[in-house]
Each structure stands twice: as C-alpha cells, then as structure tokens.
Amino acid sequence: MKKLQYERPLIQRLNTGLMNKFGMKTEYTPHTHIDEVSVKSLIKEFGSPLFVISEKTIRNTYKEANRAFKTRYPKVQFAWSYKTNYINAVCNVFHQEGSWAEVVSGFEYHKALNNGVPGSKIIFNGPDKSEDDLRAAINNESPIHIDHLDELYHLNELAVEMNKRPKVAIRVNMDTGVYPMWDRFGFNYENGQAWDAINKIILADKLDLVGLHSHIGTFMLSPSAYGVAASKLSDLALGIKKKYKKNILYLDMGGGFASKNTLKGSFLQGVDTNPNFDQFAEAISTAILNAGFGTDELPLLVLETGRALIDDAGYLLGSVISNKRLSDGRRATILDFGVNVMFTSFWYDHKISPAQDFGNYTEDSVLYGPLCMNIDVIREHITLPPLKRNDHVVVHTVGAYNMTQWMQFIALRPAVVMIDMKNKVHLIRKRENLEYLEACEVKPDYLKSFKL
C-alpha cells in the first residue's frame, strides 16, 4: 500500500480579536517553477542556496519603464546602475536593451568598458574617483559627475595638464520635501552651492558642463518629490541658458524608484502600495515639460534607476536545515542562506514561498539563516506551512543589491544562474570556493608552519 504524504503534526491556539482587516497573510501557492524551470532541478544542478535571474522579467520590466517615460517625454536615456547588480550577464541584458552604464567606482568603470560600453556612454558618479579613474574617464570622454569642489579643482588641473576639455555634470542635492535629505552628495541647490560650482566651471572655461544630476534618495515612495527635483534642476538649466547662453544637454534624475518589496514596519504590502513607473514618469516629465524650455532645447532625460528594474527579476532559492522550537513556543526554521547573501533582509520583509506542495495548515515562524550570529534573521515573523528538513523555499524580489552587497562571511557566496528568454539555464557566476577566497591572501614564510 502506498504511504500517505507526511506533514508535521501541528496545533495552534486560536486567538480572537487579533486579526487585521486583511485576515491572515499566508503564502498559499507553492512556487515550484521559475520561468517554467523547476526549483528542484535548479537546486539539484547548481546547489543550494542559489540566486536565479529571470532574463524575461528584466526585459519586460525595462520595456515597461521605457514605455512609461518615452510616451511622456521625447528624449529619454536609461543608464544601468552597476552597483545595483554588476554581474556582467545582467549588465549586458540592460545594454542590449539600450541602457548606458552608470558607475560609482574605478572597478565598475572598467567593468563597463570591458563589457563593451563606449566610454562616452558611461556616466561616472560618486565621491571617490582616483586620479587614474579621472584620467581614464577624460580620455574616454565619459561624462564625469562632480561631487565636491576638490574634484572640480582636480579636474581643472587635469584638463590643463592633459590638454583636454572633460565633459562634466554637477550633482545637485536639494530639499524635495522628503526625509532624509541626501545632502552629503554634490552641491546644495537652496544655499547657492550649486550655482557657485556652475559659475566656477563656466568661468574657468576648462571643463564642458553638459549636464545636471540629482539623486534624491533611495526606495522613494513619493513620485511628487521627483517632480520637485526635476523643477529645480530645470530651473538651474534655464538659469545657465539665461546667464551664459549655454544649453545643458541632459538632466539626470538619478535613481531611487521603489521596487515592489515591502519595507520592514509597513502595514501594507509593497506590491499594492509602491508607485509604478508611470507615476514617477508623470511627475518628472510634467515638471520638465512645464519648466519653460523651448521645444528644440529640451534636455535629454537620463534615468539611473536600478532597484526598480532588477529587483523583481531576482530569486533566491534555499533549503531548510532544521526546525526548532524557541523558549516562548514559537516555531523557528533555519535556512541555508542568511543575511550574508541576502543583505536586503535588513530592510525588507521579503516574500518567501515554499517550493513544494503542502496542505492547508500553516504556522507562525521565525526564519533564521545559517550563520552562527544572532543577527542572522531573515524574517522575524512569517506564516508558512510546516517545512521539513531539505524542503526548498523561494525568496522573491532579491535582484537588487544582494549580488553586490553580499558578504563572504562564514559561508562562501552561492552561484548565480540566469534563465534566458527560451527558458534555458545559464551559469553566470560560479559558486565560490576556498581557492577563490584565499587567492588574494599572502602568508609570510615565517607563518607557514607550526607545531601543536
């Protein structure tokens, strides 16, 4: 006789008066496949944990964003934010779709060059650009976004020494009515720092001021703040036109658009409440179109959004190591991935689904990672069906920042695969091993041996 499917015995106290108006939130649907590839087969072939990127989702999301902006504004250019996910295969999907590159460090800059992005289409941001980085960017005619006066003066010196006219923009910070105000980057709009920098650039006449840049925050939930930023940048551009008879070629609105993740402490799910591309596009386009530019003088609108373009395309597959009961009776499940590879679990209550069929019964649990560290908590509270050792789970919306901010701490970093448009699986980053980890270490001769 065939044995019945086993489910761990469960008993739960029924509480009255504690349920919210949405009822109990439970992941009732098992997530067994990603783009028609089974989770089980992916883990079998590439191990657990495993990051999975859906190329289909990336391209669809990009098209959605592109449509939202291009149907509202005539000149739009996306620049892929490398720091959000700089695995080359991911970057090249965006470049194939037409994205330039936006980088914030020397190694990211060279990654973009190695990927084949022309220098003139790599936007170089960030407060730390070495002299070598700046020289490379000047030689390649990359737009350099100046963050501080020291950089401005340094560029003036390099321009004279190299006998070149670097293409630059200034980063402008401003009050857009949201907290916190990101005033540590660039020059302030309200107190006149931005105008001061513009005057210095134009009057010194060594650099070619081609753009203005702002990046007002991260995981922004208020599209209207972008409207304020676009108005203020437009005001600067029109002021430059009036004062110096010079057209600013592009306004770079940066990134920071929220993805569909749910921030910790949010009452409602991000997927229901976070603004979509149309809302951001409407706020930004309306502000620039109404600013007073002549129709033939409208600047190119550059967007560096990263998170909202890639988050949905990333999944993290993992397995259950063990179940245990905490001292207060709560169920705890230990998974084989933790905050080391899922950095964003510090910010979000990620959606986590079981990857196999289950019954109708669920229980409240805490999800822990495998690290021998108390901070390794994936979800402080989640309602899931009873999971047993070696069961698999799928974490959703992890495409942004996890594959760049992940830590090689206690555990080695997992492999990353991409499922292409025809549902074929490609390994795009190998699982790390001890050899990789020790490749940069140097052991002095006198420490090579010991007796115990």
Binding site: K3, L4, Q5, Y6, E7, R8, P9, L10, I11, Q12, R13, L14, N323, R325, G329, G359, N360, Y361, P386, K388, R389
Partner: protein, 86 residues
C-alpha cells in the same frame, strides 16, 4: 500522557477546552495523534502507526512527535499518566 477528559475534539480539527475557554486547531495528522492519545494508546504504538501510514523516516517522527507532545503539554490539553494514577 493522555488527552484531558473534558477536551472536545471535532473531526475537522477543532479543539476546545471548556474549562479554560481556549480553542485550538490541529492539522489532520495532529488530530490523528490526539485521537490515539484519547484512546490511551502509548507513544510507541502511535509512532509505529505513523511510521507505517506515512512516508516519513523514524528520526523525523521521533523529533516531530516529541515537539507536538510538548505543545500539547504547553497548551494544557493533556494530563500525565502519573496524575491519573494518583
């Protein structure tokens, strides 16, 4: 260990303790265990039955049964055999 006599156990997995007013829900396998406990079946007999009925290994049964029994005890729906004898 056995289920307290006053505990009401429905076939749909609803458990009610009229003395405390507490109510609980159990999943089908939990219900099966509680019913066997009501019938005064020993732990060993119950575990053997589960092993024969479900596709599960002995260690998992051992671990899950221990956990479930502890929860029953914590929710005060059981009484120990010693108490009954005294």
């Amino acid at each position: 260990m056995k289920i307290k006599k006053n505990i009401a156990l429905s076939d749909t997995g609803f458990v009610f303790n009229p003395a405390s007013g507490d109510s609980f829900s159990v999943n089908p396998i939990g219900l099966e265990i509680m019913k066997l406990l009501q019938e005064n079946k020993s732990h060993e007999v119950i575990k053997k039955h589960l092993l024969e009925t479900y596709s599960v290994d002995k260690d998992t049964i051992e671990k899950d049964f221990y956990d479930f029994a502890k929860m029953l005890e914590q929710f005060k729906v059981t009484e120990s055999d010693e108490k009954k004898e005294s």
